[in-house]
């Protein structure tokens, strides 16, 4: 176990260095002069001179050779400083800690609600395969997968916030503000999750060991909970953890439409605005989070299924 953890931590460090280096290179080789883009973004529709752009580039070391910029960034990070945003001048760490809790709230709640609805629904559809419940579930899954987030969000705001004035149209702060963004996020996830749960359960229901257990006269209830559900949890958990990781990166659409001050919109704006320090800080933060989450999920596998062992390169069922 200790050996496994050490190996995973070393791997994690390599992954982090790789991700950050790749992001650094990709951003630097993207078209466009970052100093101009940032200067225009900062100053907006006001008079802007070449001198302003030059000063901005000089101040932020954008004229330095790429390898110097790269080393400087790592030097700062190793001293615990992610730097300041080139666009807002705010410390990157402050921006992340300010925005991330909002994204985390939505991510946790949306995954929780999706799981609470999709897992029983998927299992129910699998157990009653071919019957009305299954058909209705499949239909719900198809519809929710097909409806675009943006469209659904606008329709929901129009109906529930403008026409019936039941809920706030945008913003955050009260419990009511969560309802519309969560409705959109859960709707987007529920279809996929239901289908994954249903397909996994159907596979297990038709497996040989389940048939053997039935022949041995084991009660159906015990077969379901002990043999089917326990085995089904690994792919389901994998899917849900992936969905959760994706949710942690924030939803640009939901954050833009509902004015939710999360991390997704910040990431998109930073990429479009060539805010290098912000992008690198965000990528490093997300990479640490994702690598950490993967480790936690691996440990969960071990916890829910004792047959999973950790040997050599990773988990072996």
């Amino acid at each position: 176990m200790a050996g496994f953890l050490i190996r995973r931590l070393l791997n994690a460090l390599l992954v982090l260095a790789g991700v950050v280096t790749l992001t650094f290179c990709l951003m630097r080789f993207t078209e466009g002069d970052p100093a101009t883009i940032i200067a225009l973004d900062k100053n907006g529709s006001v008079l802007i001179s070449g001198e302003v752009i030059e000063r901005l580039a000089e101040k932020n070391g954008l004229h330095d050779p790429i390898h110097i910029q790269y080393l400087n960034w790592w030097r700062r990070v190793l001293h615990g400083d992610l730097g300041n945003s080139l666009r807002s001048d705010a410390p990157v760490w402050d921006e992340i800690t300010e925005r991330f809790p909002y994204t985390l709230q939505l991510a946790v709640l949306s995954i929780l609600i999706t799981s609470l609805i999709a897992v029983p629904l998927g299992i129910c559809a699998a157990v009653h395969r071919g019957r009305l419940v299954d058909r209705i579930t499949q239909w719900i899954a198809s519809v929710t997968v097909s409806v675009p987030d943006y469209y659904l969000a606008i329709v929901l705001i129009y109906a529930l916030a403008v026409k019936w004035t039941l809920l706030p149209a945008y913003g955050c702060g009260t419990a009511a503000h969560f309802i519309l963004p969560l409705l959109v996020l859960v709707t987007a996830k529920i279809g996929y999750t239901t289908r994954i749960v249903s397909a996994t359960t159907v596979d297990l229901l038709s497996s040989q060991y389940v048939a053997y257990a039935e022949l041995r006269g084991i009660p159906k209830c015990r077969i379901f909970y002990v043999h089917i559900l326990k085995n089904a949890m690994i792919p389901i958990l994998t899917h849900i953890s992936l969905q959760f990781l994706m949710a942690l990166e924030g939803s640009v659409i939901v954050e833009s439409i509902f004015a939710w001050p999360g991390i997704g919109k910040c990431m998109t704006d930073s990429v479009l605005g060539r805010d290098f320090t912000m992008i690198q800080g965000l990528v490093l933060f997300m990479a640490v989070l994702i690598v950490g989450m993967n480790l936690v999920v691996d440990l969960f596998y071990m916890f829910i299924n004792q047959r999973v062992q950790y040997d050599g390169g990773g988990a072996k069922p």
Binding site: T30, E31, G32, D33, P34, T36, I37, L40, K42, N43, G44, S45, V46, L47, I48, S49, G50, E51, V52, I53, R55, N84, S88, D89, A90, E98, R99, I154, I157, Y158, A161, V162, T165, L166, L167, P168, A169, Y170, G171, C172, T174, A175, A176, E255, S256, I257, F258, A259, P261, K265, C266, L272, G273, R274
Partner: protein, 560 residues
Amino acid sequence: MPVSIDEEQKNIMKKIFVFILTVLLLIVIVTVFRTNDSAEAERDVLTIATGRDATNITNYSPKGMWEPAALIYETLVNLDAACNPVPCLAETWEVSDDGRSYLFHLRKGVVFQDGTPFDADAVKENVVKLKHDNWSTIGELLAHVNVMGPHTVEFVLTRPHPTLFTELAASTCGIISPSVIVPESESKKPAMEMMKENAGKNDGNKMAMTETSSTPADPGHIVSRPVGTGPYAWNEDRHLRNRCFSVIRNDSYWQGTPRFSRIDWEVIPDASARAIALESGKVDLTGETPNGTLNLENIKLLKKNETFSITTADNWGARLVIVNHTRPPFDDPEVRSALKYAIDVSAIQKLLGDTATICPGPLGPTSPLTDPSLSLYEYDVEKARSILDAKDIVDTNGDGIREYGGKELSISIVSGKVPTVSVLMREFFREIGIDLTIDQKESGSTFQVLAQMQFDIAIHNNIPSFYLNLSQQFSKNGGRWSLNIDDPDLERAIEKYEKSTDMETYRKYAWEIQRRVHELEIILFAVNERKVAAYRKELGNFVFPPEEWVGADQNLWNMK
């Protein structure tokens, strides 16, 4: 086992009870949510939807403050609807005959929102300390700032600059309380601590005559807190980063009592969501600044709704649709003119509706330098075809596309995020046998492509400084934004334009530049994106200032 009637009734009652309880619970939840929202409806407070947080928490310079800067800070002069300078913090002024000296007589009795008196020293401190920040465009022109008396200040320029008043009216040149202009190294201290330390440093109106050069401009100064002389003061308590920000009424404002007790901005990044927020009654106004623009569909819907008013206004600048005159066959002005005849500008105008005005030259219809004699070309496909035929650019293989230099004439247009105009142009050019492909790029990449002239046709981004500085774009020595036009007549006009000492001469040569560029057929047409504000009708009448850099929200304080 049979169930007794009593038990059955009990079960039914139980179900009904659970149902009623659930319904009641839902009603309570919904009512609580609704109450929370309606509590926000204060009509003395104006709420505006914008697309981004207006502030930069480490520096409250008006340059980075967007919307609230126009209400917190005031400038020496303002502009009237005809773009003439009118008094603001400067009551009167005198300009020397050589156009290099501007003597401003400042308004007496004005105080900053922190109690610091507004005087000539305050103006000088602003210009000297923030020369490289919000005064950077004027800073390079200034040779000296001389304090001639407690309320008299002189700006001495290195060369005449006829548009100085227009630039002084920009919200970036808002005058900041000297007590909050601090060295960057002190910016880590809490704002209140810095204010205490700086209080009193600027007391006393002493006669002084100092050159800006003798007080070295410190590029390391920042504005630690937004404090100006304007009708509203920054409301730190209601600033939630990336969510909302606010200003409160300045009760001691020198022009009278501002109409709203408070103005709040809600940050809503999506344009449709901003329009819906307006419809839902959560906000009163949106669309008035470049941060919060609405899209065409939203504007159409809001126009149909009688509850709202829409105010539109032209900008000074325009997005130029330009052809790369350095690439053959478009190095020939006649071939370029064929492209102009092939474009049906009325169709483009119809497509863009009220959100834009199509112009023949680089400036919008309301700019003080626009040459009124320029006109758009008539749509004439036959003429376009005949020009290309005469230049021996013909379709030899019958595939509908003309050949040039042994190859099919296939060109591309560098377009922004929404290539609606480009799609229409592709159809126009196909009519004359030119294949146009759309090269869609995000704005960051477009700048580089334009600066390096790596395009056939491009929609040139609107750089506001071009509005009044035509030499940057049209002189071959114009720097990074130059279109590399090699034309002696144009260079001569630009030289005279730059040496003009008065506005009349400046305008005369600005017109000459525009005419020459028009003759060179480099600008196919220009899109002047209009400002559109949507607001609740009962608010009154929203009036745009003559140009957006003046600060679109400037007139909100006394909105009639």
